[in-house]
Structure formats: structure tokens, C-alpha cells
């Protein structure tokens, strides 16, 4: 039972961390953008503008909520809710650190070490489409509908390549559990990261992650210059907030998953030696920190890319997804298979 309590505690902590990281991602996005663009960025709300996300949050909560007359009210509310909930659900299967002993039992620092972890991620991600589709459709606005259709088509298209690129990882690991995948990357001195064996897979996965998060260069559905606000054109107050926020939560989770799948999760070089001289809990904390460092790097990378490159046109995006990434990922899978067979 203590374990259950521990897990629920973990859920709570994770929930708060997700929100916190996402909130500060919005802030750092603005800061990174500003710095890349030779500007200062928000610096008036609190020292260095550190209270900016809080100000945004309060403002959003205090804003009038508008539900257009012609919209389907329930669905209109359901859209952002689904988006946000699915965004917050994915973190369950991510192993945040090595196991700790609780109640005499080795418990991984993971909400749910289910043996289908990666499929769980895929499942939840595939549900994310609903939030956008329903929201865009319910708005009864042309831009919103167009944005929603674009967004969902894009998301489902890149889901395919994403699923395919994961298969190569599953083949090497032989398990669907993310925990196993991470431990499988321990290698010598904690450096057996999958990125070294699966560079192509990583690239595909990375691109798909960008597309699934609707980030530049795949931010078409909400590209302002074309569709005003895309699928969330009609949304105001916290409903809009959730749509925007979910993007950042997704970014956080995507970074975590990329790290888990390809960058060894919480592993770091010479971790065995370190663990030998450290207590279990400090070591776990160190691992979690390493993990977060990697995640932060990817979040930064997401932003860095966003503020550098142009975005695709819809047809180009679809071509990339279907005609380049999908065949490439099949190829990657078969090549991985061949290599494994040849090696054994």
C-alpha cells in the first residue's frame, strides 16, 4: 500500500513538474526567441520577467470565455480538455530515474512500469488528435476547421513513421516497456545509448516528434499568417491556454521520450562508479537530474529550431511524412533486423 501511496505521490509530483516545466517552457521560449533575435524578451514581470508565465496564467483565467453561438458548446469545451488531459497522461510510463527501495521493494521511479509502455505512449498520442479535431470542428469557423483538419492529418501521418521508427528500438530491446528500453541502454559505463546504433531512427523519430507537437517547421495548423489562429481561432481564456499549454507539455514529454529511447534516459557515463560511492537516494536524485538536463536540452533544441527555419507547406509536409519518412523508417526497420540477424 505504501507503494501505491508513493506512486500517487509521484503522480502528483509529476503533474506539478509537467505543469511547471511547461509553464517555464513558455517563458524560456520567449526568452530564447528573444535572445536568438537580439532582443531582451520579457523582463518586466518580476526580475528578468521570471513571473511572466504566472502573469499569463492569471490573465488567462481572468479573461472572458467566449463560446460562439454557432458552435457545439459541449464539444467546444471538450476539445481543449482532451488535449490537455492527453498531454498530461503520457508522463506515466516514463522512467524518471533508477529504482529506489521502498517498503523493502525495489520500485522504479516511474508511475507505471507497464510492459506495454511504449504502446501506451503511442495510444495516448493518437488520442491527442481528438482534442484538436473536436475543438476545430466545434468552433464552426472556417479557419478553425481548416486548421483542425490540417493538424489532425499531419498528426496521424507522422504517427505512422513514428511507430515504425520505434519498432527498430523494440527489436533491439525485445520489450515494449520503456523501463526496459532505458535499462537496455546501460551498455558499458552507461553509454550504450541507442542514438549510436539507431541514428536514422532517431532522426525520423525526432522529426515526427516535431510534427506531433506541431512545432516549426510543422506548425502549419496554427500558422498565424495563414489561418489566423488555426484550430484555436475561436478560443479564448483558459481554453486557449490549455491548447497552447498542451503544446509545451507535449514538448516536455516528447523530449523525455526522445531521451529515454535514444539518449539513455537517466544514464550517464561512468554511472556505475558514481553509484558505487553514493547512497541510493542521492544517486537517484543525480540520475533524475541528468535526465532532466537531457530533457532541457531537447526542449531548447525544439525552440532553437523553431526560431531558425521556415515551415513547410502542407503538401510538402505530407510528402515528407508519407514519401520520405515512412519508407525510410521501414527501411531502417528491415536494416536493423538484418544487422541483428547477421550479428547473432
Amino acid at each position: 500500500m505504501t507503494i501505491l501511496v508513493f506512486k500517487i505521490l509521484l503522480v502528483l509530483v509529476l503533474f506539478l513538474i509537467s505543469l511547471g516545466v511547461a509553464a517555464y517552457s513558455t517563458y524560456s521560449e520567449r526568452k530564447v526567441a528573444a535572445f536568438i533575435q537580439d532582443r531582451l524578451g520579457p523582463n518586466r514581470a518580476g526580475p528578468f520577467g521570471i513571473l511572466q508565465p504566472i502573469a499569463d496564467g492569471i490573465k488567462m483565467i481572468m479573461k472572458e470565455e467566449i463560446i460562439p453561438l454557432t458552435s457545439n458548446k459541449i464539444l467546444f469545451v471538450a476539445g481543449p480538455a482532451i488535449t490537455m488531459i492527453t498531454a498530461l497522461m503520457t508522463s506515466a510510463v516514463i522512467p524518471w530515474g533508477p529504482s529506489v527501495t521502498i517498503d523493502g521493494m525495489k520500485v522504479p521511479l516511474q508511475v507505471a512500469d507497464i510492459n506495454i509502455g511504449i504502446l501506451y505512449v503511442m495510444g495516448v498520442v493518437s488520442l491527442g488528435v481528438y482534442g484538436i479535431m473536436i475543438g476545430g470542428w466545434a468552433s464552426n469557423n472556417k479557419y478553425a476547421l481548416l486548421g483542425a483538419v490540417r493538424a489532425s492529418t499531419q498528426m496521424i501521418s507522422y504517427e505512422l513513421a513514428m511507430g515504425m521508427s520505434i519498432i527498430a528500438i523494440i527489436m533491439t530491446t525485445g520489450s515494449l516497456s520503456i523501463g526496459d528500453m532505458v535499462t537496455g541502454q546501460h551498455g558499458t559505463w552507461g553509454m550504450g545509448w541507442n542514438i549510436f546504433v539507431q541514428p536514422l531512427g532517431f532522426l525520423i523519430f525526432l522529426i515526427c516528434a516535431f510534427a506531433e507537437c506541431n512545432r516549426t517547421p510543422f506548425d502549419l495548423p496554427e500558422s498565424e499568417t495563414e489561418l489566423v489562429g488555426g484550430y484555436h481561432t475561436e478560443y479564448s481564456s483558459m481554453k486557449l491556454g490549455f491548447y497552447l499549454f498542451a503544446e509545451y507539455v507535449n514538448m516536455f514529454i516528447s523530449s523525455a521520450i526522445i531521451t529515454c529511447l535514444y539518449f539513455g534516459g537517466y544514464h550517464f557515463p561512468f554511472m556505475d562508479k558514481v553509484s558505487a560511492i553514493m547512497g541510493e537516494v542521492p544517486f537517484a536524485i543525480l540520475c533524475v537530474m541528468v535526465f532532466f538536463l537531457k530533457i532541457l536540452f531537447f526542449i531548447f533544441f525544439f525552440m532553437w529550431v523553431r526560431w531558425t527555419i521556415p515551415r513547410f507547406r502542407f503538401d510538402q509536409l505530407m510528402n515528407l511524412g508519407w514519401k520520405v519518412l515512412l519508407p525510410l523508417s521501414v527501411l531502417n526497420m528491415l536494416a536493423t533486423g538484418t544487422i541483428i540477424v547477421l550479428n547473432s
Partner: protein, 168 residues
């Protein structure tokens, strides 16, 4: 305790949402209710320790098939709304038929002994690994044939689409 609560609430959810699904006017809501129903069913799969099937169920049904339904609804958009309903009589008849069917089967199966839970349960039965083994050994032929099915599906879809554009 938890087991019973989960089972009965999931079953309840499944039944209620599926009933709502067939009665709701708006097809969009029907899809969403069916979605809820599918989630409950997935929950039942998990309860049966068929985790892999449960998640596949979600990925395939919720993540793909239902999305497609949404597309269709958005696509057709009911610009001619389907307000015409069947006559009351036929509706009543339909419901009666359904109930009768349920009743008959219920009655027929009420006393059938389905046997008790086995003493020893293979806990690996629901795992992807087990399933894979079965799939790739015993069911290899159907497996390969599915591929052809998909191929024909693709061709069919493309042909439909072609007709479509030619008609325009």
C-alpha cells in the same frame, strides 16, 4: 473490492455509452460515446490481463478507426442533416427486437455452466511476446494473408478515390 468495482463500473459505462451512442441524434456525439465505450472495453481487457490487446484496441479503434469516423462526419458535414428518422413504429419494433434478442440469449445462456476460473493462470498470456509467438508460428498463414488484405484495401481505397475525381 477494487476488482468488482472496476468491473461493474466499466461494464456500466460501456453499456450506457453504447446505448447513448445509438440514440444520439448527432453523429459526432455518437462517435464520442462509442469512444467512451471502447475505453471501458479496453479497461476490461486490462482487467483480464490482456494488456497488449487492450492497448492495441485503443490504438486501432480509438486512435485510428474512430478518427476516421470523425473525418467522415466532418467531411460529409451533414450539410443535408439527417433529420428524417424512421417512423415511431419501426423504431419501437427495432428496440423490441433488440430486447427480445437479448432476452432470448440471456435465457438460453443463463444456466449454461461456463466453468470456474482456472486454478493456475498463465500470467504471460496477455503479453505481446506470447501473442507474437502464437502469431508467428501457429497463425503464420493468416498473418501473411492479412498483408494481402491490406494490399487489396489500399487498392480499393485508391480506386474509390479515382472514381471520385473522375466524377467531378
Amino acid at each position: 473490492m477494487i476488482t468488482e468495482i472496476s468491473f461493474y463500473s466499466l461494464s456500466f459505462l460501456a453499456i450506457v455509452s453504447s446505448i447513448l451512442m445509438i440514440f444520439h441524434k448527432n453523429a459526432m456525439y455518437s462517435v464520442l460515446f462509442l469512444l467512451i465505450c471502447f475505453f471501458s472495453v479496453a479497461g476490461l481487457y486490462v482487467m483480464l490481463n490482456a494488456q497488449f490487446l487492450g492497448i492495441v484496441h485503443i490504438i486501432v479503434y480509438a486512435g485510428a478507426i474512430m478518427v476516421l469516423f470523425l473525418y467522415v462526419i466532418m467531411f460529409l458535414n451533414m450539410s443535408s442533416p439527417i433529420t428524417i428518422r424512421k417512423s415511431k413504429l419501426i423504431m419501437l419494433a427495432a428496440i423490441c427486437t433488440g430486447l427480445m434478442f437479448l432476452f432470448v440469449l440471456f435465457a438460453a445462456l443463463w444456466s449454461v455452466p461456463f466453468g470456474h476460473a482456472p486454478q493456475q493462470v498463465d500470467q504471460n498470456i496477455g503479453l505481446a511476446k506470447t501473442l507474437g509467438k502464437v502469431l508467428f508460428n501457429e497463425y503464420l498463414i493468416p498473418f501473411e494473408v492479412t498483408s494481402v488484405l491490406f494490399l487489396s484495401g489500399m487498392i480499393g481505397v485508391v480506386i474509390f478515390n479515382k472514381k471520385e475525381t473522375e466524377n467531378e
